[in-house]
């Protein structure tokens, strides 16, 4: 399976950007990492079995890059949602409330929550993508759900 850079970006740009944004909490950083990720796709000679395989690879690359960036001293002093506040204000309260609550979760927890609830990955798939045990994924998911329930009350149901 081989996609051109344009095809890959059309299909996965938003997924890669959003995964990165949930870690960096900064639009400019997420955009930079998104570009870096697709540059890496452009330069890799790796072949991909199908679109899902490619998507998982792109997400993994962008998550790694985002985690590396977010660990840097420079970034720790930079995390800001200022450039996003207008969008949050214009969004329905239930959406902005949920988004804000997720972004307040611990970093590793919100990555897993995002992959599970947005990308529809299973616990097993997330463990493979992030190279952590399934038990770690389960416990972070549980923790994230508890924290979201605590913050959002009726805005977050008990379904999984």
């Amino acid at each position: 399976m081989q996609l051109t850079l344009q095809q890959a970006m059309e299909l996965f740009e938003l997924s890669v950007f959003r995964a990165s944004f949930y870690i960096c909490k900064n639009r400019q950083d997420a955009e930079d990492i998104c570009q870096e990720t697709f540059l890496e796709y452009h330069s890799t000679r790796k072949s991909f079995e199908d679109e899902e395989h490619l998507k998982a690879w792109l997400l993994r690359v962008s998550i790694n890059k985002s985690l590396n960036l977010s660990r840097s001293f420079w970034h720790k002093n930079r995390e800001t949602l200022e450039d996003f506040e207008e969008a949050l204000e214009q969004a329905p309260p239930e959406d902005s409330g949920l988004l804000t609550a997720v972004l307040e979760l611990p970093k590793k927890c919100r990555v897993i929550i995002h992959l599970f609830y947005y990308e529809d990955y299973s616990v097993k798939e997330i463990s493979q993508l992030l190279r952590v045990s399934e038990n770690t994924v389960k416990s972070q998911l549980h923790r994230g759900r508890m924290l979201l329930k605590e913050k959002l009350k009726e805005g977050w149901s008990d379904d999984e």
């Binding site: 970006m9 950007f17 959406d95």
Partner: protein
């Protein structure tokens, strides 16, 4: 509404800034990287001729930026000593004898169905066995494989396809190339025969 439906609806707020044309930016950067790489490696090859006799291989050294190692690789058909430094998970910086620095890295299978950042050993092996195809400043297109330098400019047909037999025996005996007008290329190597353009495009990029 389920939690997943709620979550996906809320996530729609998160979009890149409208002013950012990702595709245009990325394509622009790939072009810059390509021209920069050619210029840098040409300069590095020139410096390597002077430094081959004076340098050794395999020296580990740790500094505040991470582990780095000095290794010998093939560069434009000659041996060159470069320093490879780990700068992140699966990310490395290679410093060439002329002082130019090139980033490289990637992912590899972890043996358990997942992926991980490529290790330094794998990266060194890749550097030592990579087959490069580059266009020089005179417009000639060259294949570099270990100590072989092959000008394939005249073998490339109107579709960019070229075949070249090489007496290497170690890495490959047959090299198939597709050279694209944008300066990128696809290469396959084999001991048994040439690849068709279709197979080459399927297996490489």
């Amino acid at each position: 509404m389920t939690n997943k439906e709620r979550y996906k609806k809320a996530a729609e707020i998160i979009v890149p800034s409208g002013s950012n044309d990702f595709l245009q930016n990325v394509e622009g950067r790939t072009m810059k990287m390509r021209s920069k790489k050619i210029i840098k490696t040409v300069a590095a090859a020139f410096a390597a001729v002077i430094l081959i006799a004076a340098t050794g291989t395999g020296v580990y050294a740790a500094d505040i930026g991470g582990i780095q190692k000095s290794v010998g690789i093939w560069l434009h058909g000659d041996v060159a000593d470069v320093t490879i430094k780990e700068v992140g998970d699966g990310q490395f910086e290679v410093t060439y004898p002329d002082g130019s620095v090139r980033g490289c890295g990637g992912m590899e299978e972890d043996g358990h169905g997942g992926m991980r950042g490529v290790s330094m050993e794998s990266m060194i092996a890749q550097l030592r066995t990579s087959v490069e195809c580059e266009q020089d400043e005179d417009g000639r297109i060259w294949i570099y494989i270990r100590d072989h330098k092959i000008d394939v400019t005249d073998q490339i047909d109107e579709k960019g396809y070229a075949q070249e037999k090489v007496k290497d025996g170690f890495l490959a005996d047959y090299i198939t190339v597709i050279w694209r007008e944008d300066g990128s290329c696809a290469i396959s190597t084999s001991h048994s025969g040439f690849d068709s353009p279709e197979k080459l495009m399927q297996n490489t990029r």
